[in-house]
C-alpha cells in the first residue's frame, strides 16, 4: 500500500539532519530523552561489579576500581531510540567490550546484557566485538547520570538504543539466543535501525 497523503501536512525538514545519518522513521533531537521501564536504580559504587558469565572458560569480574583502571576510549557516535528520536555526535567515555572479552574463551554465539533492576537485552555476540560496543561510564566528559544509566551502561550504537542496557552489571554468554525484556514484549529481536526493525515481524 502506498502511503496516504496527510492533507496539509508539510513537516519541518531539518537542515541539520543529513539523511545518511538518520535512519527511516527517525527525527533528530538535541535533548537527551530518558526511557526506562521502572524506577532508576542507585547502586553504590562499592557494591557495583561487572561480570562476564555463562558459557565461558572462566567467569570474569571487575569491581568499580578495577573497571576504571582499564584502558579508556572516547567515542563519538549517533544513537537511535526506537521511540523515534536520534541524537547525532554523542560523546562517550568507556571501555571497549573487546577489552573486557580479551582472553575469554567461549563457543557462545549469543549474549544477554543484564542490569540492576532486572532489565535484560539480547544480541549476537559478534555485535559486541570488533570495536562496535563499549561499557560507558562517561558522557561528554562527565560521570554518566543515573537516569541515563550510570554508573555504567552498555553502548551499542549500531542497534536501537534499547539494545544498550542502562545500569549494566554483566554479560551472560550462551549458545542459544534468549530474548530479553523488550524482545519478549513486542519489540524486534535484533533491532537494526537502518532496516527499521522496531517490532516483531518488522
Amino acid at each position: 500500500m502506498s502511503p496516504i497523503i496527510s492533507r496539509g501536512f508539510r513537516g519541518r525538514r531539518r537542515d541539520d539532519a543529513p539523511s545518511d545519518r538518520v535512519p527511516p522513521g527517525q527525527y533528530v533531537t538535541r535533548d537527551f530523552p530518558v526511557l526506562s521501564a521502572g524506577p532508576t536504580p542507585h547502586t553504590p559504587l562499592d557494591q557495583w561489579d561487572f561480570t562476564i558469565v555463562g558459557e565461558v572458560n572462566e567467569p570474569r569480574r571487575w569491581t568499580w576500581e578495577e573497571f576504571r583502571a582499564l584502558p579508556i576510549e572516547e567515542v563519538t557516535v549517533d544513537i537511535h531510540c526506537v521511540t523515534k528520536w536520534s541524537k547525532l555526535d554523542t560523546v562517550w567515555q568507556g571501555v571497549s567490550i573487546d577489552t573486557l572479552l580479551d582472553g575469554v574463551e567461549t563457543s557462545a554465539e549469543y549474549v544477554v546484557q543484564f542490569s540492576d533492576g532486572g532489565y535484560t537485552t539480547n544480541l549476537p555476540l559478534k555485535d559486541l566485538t570488533g570495536g562496535k560496543a563499549w561499557l560507558a561510564f562517561g558522557y561528554n566528559g562527565q560521570p554518566l547520570e543515573p537516569e541515563h544509566g550510570g554508573p555504567a551502561r552498555m553502548l551499542v550504537p549500531h542497534l536501537y538504543f534499547w539494545k544498550s542496557a542502562k545500569w549494566a552489571r554483566g554479560l551472560r554468554l550462551a549458545a542459544t539466543d534468549e530474548p530479553g525484556f523488550w524482545e519478549t514484549n513486542g519489540y524486534h529481536n535484533y533491532g537494526d535501525p537502518w532496516r527499521e526493525q522496531r517490532y516483531w515481524g518488522d
Binding site: 496516504i4 497523503i5 508539510r10 513537516g11 524506577p39 536504580p41 532486572g118 513486542g186 516483531w200 518488522d202
Partner: protein, 248 residues
C-alpha cells in the same frame, strides 16, 4: 511476563478522523475509525505516520486513550509548540481526514482486568493518557478492583478528562488531584508536586502490593518512582513510562 498478542508484522493502517474533542487549551483527543483494528490492551501505544504531498514522512508514538472498543481508537495529543507532528494532529486535523497508524505496541505497560487490584496510577500532565485507558477499561469491564489515580497538573484548567474523571470517581475508583502551579479559589486539595507524604496518604501501601503505573515527564517519573521505592514498594511492582521534551 506476558508477551503481546502481536503475531505478524504491524502494518500501517489507514485511520479516519471521526471526532475531535478539545480537552484543554493545549490538548486534543482525536477519535479514529481504523478498519481491521485488532484490538488493544490498556496502556499500549501506536505509531503515527504523516506523509506530505512530496513524500516527506514523519513518525511519532502516541498512547492510546480509549479502552478497547471495536475499530475505534482514541489518541490524546498535547500540542508541543515547536513540534513537527503534534501541532498538525492537534490543530489541523478535521473529521474525515486520514492519517496512518500501526499498532498496538508494547506489552509491558499494560493493565488487564484479570490482574485485579489494587492499582495505583500516577499521572503527570499528559502522562494521564495511557492511565486513562486503564481507568476506562476498569469501568467498561465493571471491575471492582481498588484503583487510585493520583494526577498532577499545573492548574485546574490543565486537567485532561476532568469531567469524565469526576463522573467515574466512585465504586472503587479514587481520583486525587494535585495542582502544582495554580489552584482555583477554595481549593482544598493537594497543591504541590507528588512526594513521599502524598503517596503514603493516597496509598495503597507496599504491604498491599499494588500494581503501580507511573507516566509523565522524566522529572515527574524519577521523583515519583524514587518516593515509591523509599516508601517500601518493590521496584519490580512499579512500571514507568517517561517522556521528555523530544520535539514531538
Amino acid at each position: 511476563m506476558a508477551g503481546t498478542a502481536v503475531l505478524g508484522r504491524l502494518t500501517w493502517q489507514v485511520a479516519k478522523v471521526i471526532d475531535l474533542v478539545a480537552e484543554t487549551p493545549r490538548v486534543k483527543t482525536i477519535a479514529f475509525e481504523v478498519p481491521g483494528w485488532p484490538g488493544h490492551r490498556a496502556g499500549q501505544h501506536v505509531d503515527v505516520r504523516l506523509t506530505a504531498e512530496d513524500g516527506y514522512q514523519s513518525e511519532r508514538s502516541y498512547s492510546i486513550a480509549s479502552a478497547p472498543d471495536g475499530t475505534r481508537v482514541e489518541l490524546t495529543v498535547e500540542r508541543i509548540d515547536d513540534g513537527e507532528v503534534s501541532p498538525y494532529l492537534a490543530d489541523e486535523l478535521e473529521p474525515g481526514d486520514q492519517i496512518e497508524l500501526r499498532g498496538p505496541i508494547g506489552g509491558y505497560f499494560v493493565w488487564e482486568p484479570l490482574q485485579g487490584g489494587p492499582i495505583l496510577l500516577l499521572a503527570g500532565g499528559s502522562g494521564v493518557v495511557p492511565l486513562m485507558a486503564m481507568v476506562r477499561l476498569r469501568a467498561a469491564a465493571r471491575s471492582d478492583a481498588d484503583m487510585r489515580l493520583l494526577y498532577s497538573s499545573r492548574g485546574w484548567e490543565d486537567v485532561i478528562y476532568r469531567e469524565e474523571l469526576e463522573r467515574l470517581n466512585r465504586d472503587g475508583l479514587t481520583v486525587v488531584h494535585t495542582l502544582t502551579r495554580s489552584q482555583p479559589p477554595g481549593w482544598t486539595g493537594y497543591a504541590r508536586r507528588v512526594d513521599f507524604e502524598m503517596l503514603s496518604e493516597v496509598g495503597p501501601g507496599p504491604q498491599e502490593r499494588p500494581h503501580i503505573y507511573v507516566c509523565g515527564p522524566t522529572p515527574f517519573v524519577e521523583a515519583a518512582a524514587e518516593a515509591l521505592v523509599k516508601l517500601g514498594h518493590e521496584p519490580q511492582t512499579i512500571k514507568a513510562e517517561r517522556f521528555g521534551p523530544t520535539g514531538g
